[in-house]
């Protein structure tokens, strides 16, 4: 046996081990999701069938049509879309302005303000939810969209500013300063030059913002009261409390509720992960 075949043999063994490890990890990560998908297509009576089957003979879309045909459930989706889209637009707007200030101007306390913004991320939501309740009631925003939109921004804004500032910093200053040479001010430089070329960065930040708002649970639970103001995560919980555990409908609702985030992630995967990791690690 020569040295090369020995080495080749070890290499094959290592590769086999790697594939085995990856598959095991893939089962750990993927099986629960697969089971959710499979359950959503079963009649409720077969959810706990023994032995369990991945694909039932009575495969059906009934759970989905039940959810999609129910006005109360659709309302959860509408609410989530309204809140998450509004939060995304407002966050991007405010963050672009702030990031422009951080990236292109030197001014007193800029470091301090930046540190405050970074530390907002560490403030526990449970600490904020009690005064928010008092505040939102006092402002007449309890159980309203503006109440949810406003409070969600405490989480979305810091990250958006940090990521957007990092993005603007990568763009050469000569780009927007050329506008000033032609007599324009910083406002026109921002909107005519910087924002248009920052679309990739804005998308990454926007996707992340949308995800945070779409998934937010605590404020949505504490700051709304009536079912017509509830968002998808609370809707899933409400479904769990109602009638005798319609597991197939709960899984269908969970999948429908995850679609926006899954689609956004699959489309923007590369850009998103890149932006996110650089923001998290280098912030």
């Amino acid at each position: 046996m020569t040295a090369t075949t020995l080495k080749g043999g070890r290499r094959t063994l290592a590769k086999a081990g790697l594939i085995a490890g990856l598959t095991l990890g893939g089962l750990f990560a993927g099986l629960p999701v697969l089971w959710m998908l499979s359950t959503s297509f079963k009649p409720n009576g077969e959810v706990f069938a023994n032995p369990p089957k991945l694909i039932s003979e009575n495969f059906s879309f009934d759970a989905y049509t039940a959810i999609l045909g129910n006005g109360a459930q659709l309302r959860f989706f509408l609410n989530s879309y309204i809140v998450a889209i509004a939060v995304t637009i407002l966050t991007l707007l405010v963050a672009v302005l702030a990031s422009y200030a951080f990236s292109r101007f030197t001014f007193p306390f800029s470091k301090t303000i930046n540190a405050v913004i970074v530390s907002v991320q560490a403030v526990p939501p449970i600490t904020l939810v009690i005064p928010y309740f008092g505040l939102v009631v006092a402002l007449g925003l309890y159980n309203t969209y503006p109440g949810l939109i406003l409070t969600h921004m405490v989480f979305t804004l810091p990250y958006a500013i940090i990521m957007m500032t990092a993005y603007f910093n990568t763009l050469p200053k000569e780009l927007d300063e050329s506008v000033k040479v032609d007599g324009g001010n910083s406002w026109t430089a921002l909107w005519r030059i910087l924002v248009p070329i920052s679309v990739p960065g804005l998308i990454a930040v926007g996707v992340y913002t949308f995800m945070i708002s779409w998934n937010e649970y605590l404020f949505a639970l504490a700051l709304t009261r009536t079912d017509d103001m509830r968002t998808v995560p609370i809707g899933i919980q409400l479904l769990m409390g109602q009638h005798s555990y319609e597991w197939n409908q709960m899984m269908a609702m969970s999948i429908l509720g995850s679609v926006p985030v899954l689609v956004l992630f699959l489309i923007f995967q590369r850009r998103f992960i890149g932006g996110l990791t650089s923001g998290a690690v280098k912030a």
Binding site: G25, G26, G30, P32, V116, V120, V123, T277
Partner: protein
């Protein structure tokens, strides 16, 4: 850093002519851009924190009109509450176990995905599968695992078939297992963020470092300890602190899986505080508990910010 600034002086030239006229107006420009952020931070952060601290020293807040000063009474009440102490202990176990497992799983998966032995397509598929748990909202994750862990669910079926257990276990209903089960689910849902960051970190390690180690006769194990780990150290520390902060804030998962039960066995600081406020309407005591949680998190955040500054 100082040597860098000496080499590259700030571009003072274009600013010089304009500085003489309307300096005040010019100085206010960045504040104009920052004003919406400042207003929001004050409204959503500064005011609420002042409010919650003031609530914590009073009684009859929010629900009644006339609140009265109570001194540290709310704090003594919370700190001597056995349920609070149980929540503190549970939170500690939950955070520590989750963090260690997140790191080990994240690093293991990242290293497998970073291996040079795989084709691009295989890697891309596995990467998406591995990221999956992270893409679902916590409410969905709670519901999936309640289905899987049901006494007549598929987890019990598989374990019984394999002979690991003889009878079906009520995983979430048994005070002995509930905390470990919710911790496991939190591990499942949270490792991908570590994995993604560590994968980015691994890809940033220069190949020359490994080549140099090979020349020195290092085996794979030595390369891992002497090249990979030192290079990933900053990422690992950042992620660990972030994870500590996030895990300590976990509310939705516990709330939807067990509600803190059975018998307080999964009560966390967050669920304890929430119940005081929104189930028992003890907003003042809840505020004291919330301030304690804030103080604990601030200690963690302090280390995070300091560590970020050092880099």
């Amino acid at each position: 850093m100082t040597s860098l600034t000496v080499e590259k002086p700030p571009p003072a030239e274009p600013e010089a002519p304009t500085r003489t006229k309307n300096t005040l107006a010019k100085r206010l420009v960045p504040w104009g851009y920052l004003s919406p952020t400042v207003v929001l931070i004050v409204l959503l952060m500064v005011v609420p924190i002042v409010m919650v601290i003031s609530y914590s020293f009073r009684d009859n807040v929010i629900v009644q009109e006339n609140s009265v000063f109570a001194g540290f009474a709310n704090y003594t009440e919370v700190l001597t509450d056995p349920d609070f102490l149980a929540a503190l202990k549970n939170t500690f176990i939950f955070i520590t176990v989750s963090m260690v497992a997140h790191l080990l799983l994240g690093l293991g998966f990242a290293m497998m995905l970073n291996s040079g032995m795989l084709g691009g397509v295989t890697k891309a598929i596995f990467r998406v599968v591995y990221v999956l748990p992270w893409l679902f909202t916590i409410a969905v994750i709670a519901v999936i695992w309640r289905l899987l862990l049901d006494p007549s669910g598929v987890v019990n079926y598989v374990l019984q078939t394999l002979g690991v257990i003889s009878d079906g276990v009520n995983w979430l209903g048994d005070p002995g297992s509930a905390l470990w089960v919710v911790t496991f689910v939190n591990i499942w849902s949270g490792y991908p963020f570590f994995m993604i960051s560590l994968l980015a970190g691994l890809q940033g390690i220069p190949g020359e470092l490994y080549e140099a180690a090979s020349v020195d006769g290092a085996n794979p194990w030595q390369k891992f300890w002497n090249v990979t780990i030192p290079q990933l150290r900053p990422v690992i520390i950042s992620m660990a602190v972030l994870d500590l902060i996030w895990t300590s804030q976990q509310f939705a998962l516990i709330w939807m899986m067990t509600g803190g039960g059975p018998l307080n066995s999964t009560e966390m600081l967050s669920t304890f505080t929430y119940k005081l406020a929104f189930s028992e309407y003890e907003f003042a005591t809840a505020s004291a508990s919330a301030v304690i949680v804030l103080l604990l998190t601030m200690i963690l955040a302090f280390f995070y910010v300091r560590q970020q500054r050092e880099r």
